[in-house]
């Protein structure tokens, strides 16, 4: 069906901003290249768990940024500021709830994603680095949980942190040093709260974002794993554009092997 001149004009006007950006940055093309990748034909719903984990992290990052606008990391006012967020600030109960429950969801999703990767054998060559960065992300995610738990500064938070720091202290040789670094001195006090706040909202999230970038780069470069019951092994090559050299040959080899197996049977 031919477009009318008017339709074409409207379309052109609507797409003009995108074309403007594309011409100057190539970003539209890169985004399309990033989003519209070939994946194995028999991909599984379980393989959405990674994206779900990423979404959970983004929820934490977004709500956390806004919670930081109302939270006061000081022993005299921390608890009161949490009460204020929960009971007084408009929609504070909702955003704090999202952050609190989202934290558990983030951890749970990380474990489910990890279990999927393990069950599908997706940690094997050439994806070992993806597993390693994933394990580091898991550790940092749990460190987020540990540091965030202290911030409400109530009895649960305080004693959980006392026990948590002392568990760290029992590690041979380095344990006491780690514990003392975490509590920022000889005792848990104002320094501990400020330090945990800084770790929780700046240091560890920065590390997580960097590692997520690396993790995603590897996913895009190496492609999505087929499920273990798949016959096409490592998916199909991209329709156009250059393959990464070493890996392309490897993938061709895999596909050829499986074809031979199919023909033999």
């Amino acid at each position: 069906m031919a477009k009318s001149a008017r339709q074409a004009q409207v379309e052109k006007a609507a797409l003009y901003p995108l074309d403007w950006v594309e011409e100057r940055s190539g970003l539209v093309g890169y985004t399309k290249w990033f989003l519209f990748r070939n994946v194995p034909r028999d991909i599984n719903w379980m393989q959405t768990l990674g994206a779900a984990t990423l979404t959970a992290f983004l929820v934490q990052a977004t709500t956390g940024v806004f919670l930081a606008m109302y939270y006061k990391p000081d022993p005299d006012s921390a608890y009161a500021s949490i009460q204020n967020i929960t009971n007084e600030v408009t929609l504070g109960w909702l955003v704090r709830g999202m952050h609190k429950w989202g934290a558990s969801l983030f951890i749970i999703l990380m474990f489910l994603h990890m279990a999927r990767t393990f069950m599908f054998g997706a940690y094997k060559y050439p994806r070992e680095l993806n597993w390693i960065t994933g394990v580091l992300l898991l550790v940092m995610g749990m460190a987020e949980g540990f540091t965030g738990y202290l911030l409400p500064w109530d009895q649960t938070a305080y004693w959980a942190t006392v026990v948590g720091i002392n568990i760290n202290a029992t590690a041979p040789i380095a344990g006491p040093f780690l514990a003392q670094f975490l509590q920022g001195g000889a005792q848990i006090g104002p320094e501990t709260l400020a330090k945990f706040y800084s770790l929780h909202m700046l240091v560890i999230p920065g590390g997580i974002m960097a590692l997520i970038g690396l993790h995603m780069y590897l996913v895009v470069r190496l492609g999505v794993t087929s499920p273990p019951w798949s016959k096409t092994a490592a998916g199909r090559p991209r329709g156009e554009g250059e393959e990464p050299e070493g890996y392309g040959a490897y993938r061709e080899g895999l596909i050829r092997e499986h074809k031979e197996e199919d023909e033999a049977s």
Binding site: P75, W159, V163, A169, P172, Q180, F181, Q187
Partner: protein
């Protein structure tokens, strides 16, 4: 590049510079413990031998022209060969120098930013900056009846305020065999993982006394118990059950103008004897869950600076 020819003969790996470099590093480490001048000397040795080592390595790995296209054709150098030769020399000379200079300068600038920041992030925890040096005055001796424990709650650090509120179980043992006053002062934190240990016995809230912000409540415990993981102790703080690895920490004391004043906090392996006759070895205060005596103490060989008295 007039000296370019005589360097390719060197066999790699025969250099002595790394050994000097290692000696320099060792000097720095020993110097950090012993004295600053030694550390500075070590740094100088490290830098000198490091530079020599890098120079040596750079010479050994200087590019060797093995491209057959550059071989002489009919004894005369071709135009392409001359061009390539010029390019090649240029690559080693200026580009190599600029690369090294960029990496070196970048490293120096990066270290200038990162090292102070890291030191600022890590070192204050180990300088003992948060430790309160003012002794805690617990009030007149009459508030501590002889032979019974009192739950004493006090503020450990005026600067930190309520977050430094601590509890000790104090028993006035009367006079010791040497006619000296004797107090058993047990710190309330469990030596498993640091929860608050509770006295197993009736409290006498109506006999409670206060002195400034110190509260003193008599109690008749048959030992102490931890609500978190079930650690149990007798009245001397010796472990009787559960996961703790040593006896409860204690405080030393002094008596100033008729008032009981809290002294150094210390850790205890085990306590022999009871009350005024109790005998124990004082260890520097250790984190809960850490062995202070026996073979297991070798798991924690390094003292933590700034950990308190």
């Amino acid at each position: 590049m007039s000296d370019g020819t005589d360097n390719h003969d060197q066999a790699p790996g025969s250099s002595l510079w790394p050994i000097g470099f290692a000696i320099g590093i060792a000097c720095i480490l020993v110097g950090l413990v012993i004295s600053w001048p030694a550390a500075v000397l070590g740094a100088a040795i490290t830098i000198v031998f490091g530079v020599l080592w890098i120079r040596d390595t750079a010479r050994t790995h200087a590019p060797v022209d093995s491209d057959p296209a550059h071989a002489l054709v009919d004894g005369t150098p071709s135009e392409a060969q001359i061009a390539a030769e010029g390019e090649h020399l240029e690559t080693y000379g200026r580009a190599g120098f600029l690369t090294l200079a960029t990496i070196g300068l970048g490293g120096v600038i990066g270290a200038g930013v990162v090292l102070p920041s890291l030191g600022f992030a890590v070192l204050p925890s180990f300088m003992g900056e948060g430790i309160e040096t003012n002794p805690v005055d617990l009030g007149p001796l009459e508030n501590f009846p002889e032979g019974t424990f009192v739950i004493t709650s006090f503020t450990g650090s005026k600067r930190q305020g309520d977050v430094s509120r601590r509890t000790a179980y104090i028993r006035n043992n009367g006079l010791s065999a040497e006619k000296e006053p004797s107090f058993t002062i047990i710190y309330s934190r469990c030596v498993h993982l640091g929860c608050a240990v509770q006295p197993n016995g009736p409290r006498f809230e109506d006999e409670a006394k206060t002195y400034k912000d110190v509260t003193i409540t008599p109690v008749k415990p048959a030992g102490f118990g931890c609500p978190c993981h079930g650690g149990a102790y007798d009245n001397e703080g010796n472990r009787t059950a559960g996961p703790p690895v040593r006896s409860l920490d204690r405080y030393a004391f002094s008596i100033v103008d008729g008032n009981l004043v809290l002294g150094d906090h210390f850790s205890v392996g085990t306590v022999d004897g009871t009350a005024a006759d109790a005998v124990m070895t004082r260890y520097p205060v250790a984190y809960p869950g850490i062995h202070v005596d026996g073979i297991s103490k070798w798991l924690y060989p390094l003292p933590v600076p700034g950990a308190g008295s």
